[in-house]
Symmetry: D2
Subunit: 471 residues, 4 copies
């Protein structure tokens, strides 16, 4: 394929992937399959923080001399500064972020650098790094989810009283308010936040000090490093500490579930801005045109938010498969944990940002919502409930009578509240004029006063309560 270097610069591994290149150079293949620096460089900050905590503990415990320790700490800060300023040269030959940093440390501080790796292994080091990274990702995603909830609650407040068809099976079912609909998503994203918070508890335990797999004979203090890094506690078993990746699986699962919520809302946005629905209009910022059709106004961001759920599901699948059937303790397979975690985090972050942006910017069309209520007899349930409440019919009988009346209205091509009383009494003689008090859209909405229902006042209260609970 001979793709040019330039074209592949975003993905350096790709340009030499093809057949013949490998024939004479097993070591090149090995370097390519083995090196992780292209992606684990994202752990540089966590890696340096972990090394500093480890070094300070080694000093405190007298395992390394203070002056060596000071040199290491200063050197690590220098490396951090180099990376953040863009002056650091990452080398594939050094395989991973840990060795890149340690090699540079040695250049900067000399032999003392060799003492940093006392009483630890890359096995506990990488487990520490990735846990710290996932913890930060959780905190960041939590902020984004909160911002999205805020956008939804604001929309709910603005449109607490705007009636629209509530759908089941994408068929009009009963009137609800637009605000009520927005608040349903506030609940979903609230549970996503709770899931991430629960996951965080299991992420936030320290593997550091497990060394390769068995612990170490050096007199280390695992509680000290755990505290320094903000972990809740050291993990209790050294074999488990280096081989566990269930924290990453749980994170990916929480991300996938959250993505399923985004995909549901994105689907609704796509449907709602089809002209046949016309419930909303996305802002220019979140619409795109066509290279061929000049009139197009496409909800690309919503479609991509929907699609990226697939990507996060894929990341979860990836890591579940990697972990399946893996004996203890560390195996190189585990190196494949990072890219799915990174990609799922990036994707979900982007999905949440796009969804918050679309919700904030979109224009709701109350008139279109109201017009849509003309279709599908959405107050039929209200009629049935009236028959139960006023005429004391068993619900099943009321359901049957209502079905008949819907058939009559459909044949006449009118809404239920446009049927004459005569026409109704022809079906059920006991029906009175009072029935019309429940057949309007507004009456229907107003009647849904059961806890969690869509009555306008309840929606306003729910929005206020959501502010309390989530923001």
């Amino acid at each position: 394929m001979n793709e040019s270097k330039n074209a592949n610069s975003a993905k350096p591994a790709a340009n030499s992937m093809w057949g013949g290149r490998y024939a004479n150079s097993p070591s090149e293949i090995m370097e390519r399959i083995n090196a992780s620096i292209d992606f684990d460089r994202r752990l540089y900050r966590q890696d340096i923080a972990g090394s500093k905590a480890h070094c300070e503990m080694l000093i405190a415990q007298g395992v390394i001399a203070s002056d060596d320790g000071a040199a290491i700490l200063g050197g690590l800060d220098a490396v951090l500064a180099e990376i953040e300023s863009g002056d650091f040269e990452f080398k594939t030959a050094l395989e991973d972020i840990h060795m890149n940093i340690e090699a540079r440390l040695k250049e900067l501080v000399g032999d003392a650098a060799g003492r940093l790796h006392t009483a630890r292994s890359r096995n506990d080091q990488v487990a520490t790094d990735i846990r710290l990274w996932v913890r930060d990702a959780i905190d960041s995603l939590d902020s984004q989810l909160k911002a999205l909830q805020e956008a939804l609650i604001a929309k709910a407040e603005t449109h607490a009283g705007d009636a629209m068809p509530g759908f089941t099976h994408l068929q009009p079912a009963q009137p609800v308010t637009f605000g009520h609909h927005m608040l349903a998503y506030v609940e979903m994203y609230g549970r996503d936040r709770a899931r991430l918070a629960d996951c965080r508890k299991r992420v936030n335990e320290s593997p550091l000090g497990a060394a390769a797999l068995a612990g170490t004979s050096f007199p280390i203090d695992r509680n000290m490093t755990a505290r320094a890094l903000g972990f809740d506690r050291p993990l209790a078993n050294s074999l488990d500490a280096v081989s566990a990746r269930d924290f990453a699986l749980e994170f990916l699962a929480a991300a996938a579930i959250c993505a399923s919520h985004v995909s549901r809302q994105a689907e609704e946005l796509v449907i709602w801005c089809a002209p046949q629905f016309g419930f909303i209009r996305l802002s220019d910022s979140f619409s795109t045109g066509s290279s061929i059709m000049p009139q197009k106004r496409n909800p690309d961001a919503a479609e991509l938010a929907r699609a990226k759920a697939g990507r996060i599901y894929g990341a979860l699948t990836t890591l579940l498969v990697v972990i399946k059937g893996l004996p203890l303790a560390y195996g190189k397979d585990m190196q494949e944990d990072k890219e799915p975690v990174f990609d799922a985090t990036d994707s979900l972050s982007l999905m949440l940002a796009a969804m918050a942006g679309m919700v904030s910017d979109m224009t709701v069309a109350p008139d279109a919502l109201r017009r849509a209520l003309a279709d599908g007899f959405p107050t039929a349930t209200d009629l049935a409930d009236w028959l139960v409440r006023v005429l004391d019919m068993p619900f099943r009988d009321a359901h049957h009578v209502t079905g008949t009346l819907v058939g009559v209205a459909e044949a006449q091509g009118v809404a239920l509240d446009a049927l004459s009383l005569d026409a109704m009494q022809a079906v059920e003689p006991r029906i009175t004029q009072d029935v019309f008090s429940v057949l309007s859209i507004d009456a229907s909405v107003a009647s849904r006063t059961s806890e969690g229902g869509t009555a306008v006042e309840l929606v306003r209260q729910a929005a206020a309560a959501a502010r309390e609970r989530f923001l």
Copy 2:
């Protein structure tokens, strides 16, 4: 294919699945794709409990008359008794468990039965049923996980002092004890229990009273039904209540992660009972023979436990895909939530039972574990650590010297502690006789006294602590 009815009796849907049959009868196809009674009958107990709670609330709130209510409650008890005694006839024509029960209720108590469905819908009913079922499944799986932990802790206590090679990359790495290895799994299963417990919080909220999607105009008391069914609270938004399935996704994710742990341990059991390893012998109960090879003793249960992880991953994938892009509120797609939940629960339950049985029954071979320590220089790290500690070498230098000494030993075909002091000093003159104090297996194990390490006394303490924490 014309499979006989008898051959397919376990899966009644299968026997008429083939092409031609459908040509003339759309309604038959519709019944077959639509009916759920073949699997949702497993919800009968939850459905009846939910109906009783709903009925009692309707009575209390004056929505239905006491005598009607009493008839319904009595009738529901009668239906329950019929089902549990095997006298109930499930009918596919009645589509699902809800209608099967309601239809029978009507036969038993007459018109009053028609009042039960007042102020509810199948949408909130089925959401209630499946939440109750998942809650029970979580409690049951928690018990099984606890039993498995107990079996592992008992094995850990018995073999707290039996050294074995700890592996990384399936290569001998450092000595650990068999007990320490067992306790690593105790930690994993402990986190699985914590995950299920966290999931339970989100499962245990009541959708009942959301009705179809919008709430109801009847003066219901959702807190009363929630309390009666042991839910923590009613769900806050009626649209969310009927369309949320993230609780089921979270349950499947927790099951999948737990299954990954079982698969890892199962892989180890399979490897350990290969004669090349011979670390354990499974009991007769958990071994099988071959139809052709009379000498075989196969770890079928371990293999199946490993394989069924795939099945649970598949169930998770299924529901994630079903939910993707689904607009609110209820869609029939959601009917596909039950079979993956049921199958994953059954599979995981069986995996945990089999694993607990295998662990309890297996015979550990301490001699084989010890023999295996002769391979692979598992105390090389101890030598390197001695160089650091006693000679004050930087670890990186010590690592290099040790590598050279391993090469010498490998060339001589002996273990590290069988090298002569002369041979060692030829590589590093400062090495003294004292080095041999760290080169034995037992010395290595004894030295791993860092928190969470494999020193025998720590393993005993960890086993005791695990009893406290988990049992």
Copy 3:
């Protein structure tokens, strides 16, 4: 959980055949995890066919005596008749379909039955059975796909001339005809058939005679059994023959891809029968009502067809995970191949039947299609193309001018062909009256005469060609 036996009767427990060999009775757990008779009974016909072919070959090769062989053949026919008549008692204690049949054979014909298993193993036996089953499933699904194509082509012929909005991003893009849209699916399902046919080539090779894994010392004739069972040839390597399951993976992948097509079409049906679209009306047979909302007419079958894609994806995931990292040759993990294959086949068969039924029965609403063309300026591309063709504008400039004109029309609230020539010339003075010849829906459709385009005559030709190619 304590579900009653009755409620669980669809999933009974198991037993074991290995009792005699071992000191202790196999535990109930082992029986339950190990037995496969609950699902592999579906292989009874394939198993008997394979045994008969094997027996006839053993006779022909002189491995067993003719009278023994005749007894076995007669016995196998008798067993088949018993199963098909429903008189056969399947026993979980006998573990699987193979042993159930062999045990019954022994009851029927005595000791001769013991000679049937000469020169084979359950490993090659089960691989043969499942390949035969998958081959039959492929043939059956192919018939169903053909029937679905036929329904689609018929609809395409009826509505070859009915214009509708073609959508991209669920936004109106350009006019197409309903027939053209139907034929797009004919192409997809045609490729699904081709995929299944290609898969069939790899399914249809015979493992029989590989014995346990190494071949056999008996003078068997693998070509004879292969021919007898309709296989194309024996598999070339005995280890591969018993451990390969890629044929099943490929089948599941083809099923999953086909299911993705069904899910796409199902999504469209769901959207199209929302009243906002109203493009089609599903027949009563494929619509359902609501337990609470008497007016509902829900497209449940379409939703279930869409959802079951998830189930088939899940089956594929399951088997991919089961196979991952499995060493040669047979492992018990492979027993987990059957249920995903069976379930995916049943699900896809039902999806295809439902889709064919829905398509055949649905009523298309040409008026609604035509009305929908009023929205979204679907002939904007025609305007741009006119500017290119007649005024020789570069397309990019024409695209820009058209965008401006769409903006003018939008501001006026009219369709493009309702703009005055003056208004057009205000934007681009060279526009002439001739432009209106391309701005009508019918002119637009008629102009799309490029190969594969939507011009009515081309659609009619394409439908005729599809009949030739596929039916």
Copy 4:
């Protein structure tokens, strides 16, 4: 998280992913979620080839003037040269590879560039590009698979006569030869090649000329562009042409199945180089050390090859989910097809290269293979078969007698052929000295002469045949 630009340079999208950044700038979010240039730049060669073919056709059909056409063609060559030399500046603001190239073309050749997009759309353009890319990827992977087969066949030839235990359930089953085992994988990879070849047929059809979705009114020649690009034919339906992605799904499925084969072989390599097995030794090039354990020699490449199966499964899951439920025609969701296709191709290419390298370089240890045959009574089946053949026992009886004799040998701690004739006759008096002729490993192997069996001569023939069939 504030990751530095430098640290993220491999993944430019990542460095600004976090929350606060988005608050004020919806358009930035939109650019980030919408732009594809970071990954679709890999399509530059295919995109330019497609544009050239389209341009030449437009000239030939008289749609654009020859001089404009010549300018475009020359400009496209110049762009290609710029990209391949690394001088091209890709701009995110230009969104994708198509617009990047067209914008540069306009800079180079002026207004004529605007005529290139006549009679096409990005919808058919991107579908063309990705099909061409996948076709190339298939061809490249086919070469790699062939190279891997060649390495395996060479190993099979060298070790055609080296006996080893054939395993089932990871328990010794019957002797096979190492060559036979290698050839099992040759079969699997051969089917992978066949699958890719079949997939290629469905990839290699041309969407070009479908335009946005409906075809075009320009007098294009789709056969001409199809031929120019090496496609077999134009796709028959314009809607299908732009919305089909089943070719990519099929490619990912074939890749996933192939990856499952690699994972199986990788698992065996990992197990085989554990010292407990010691069947092979990987070369230095494919082994790695440890940061803490100086003696380690880890099979990292095999582990990564095993793990990356998960990644490819994940890519397949991703795209299956993206496509699920997507209405026609093009939706932006489809932009998510590229990264999984690219990543799966890169991963599989690397896995195959690594596997070929490991197989070529590994050292097989025939002595270790032979020693392993001492365990597990691998000739028990030969004994049973002797009883059938010589004593005319029914196989089931022979199986039983052999089981008893294995028990005797196990109790004595000897192999079967070390039992005395007396000891055998005590179990079955008719056994004669002749039995020992089948109990040796070599006799067992030699006896497996059924087609596809492991007899040494057959293995040699099979290797030769494999050369014929595959190389």
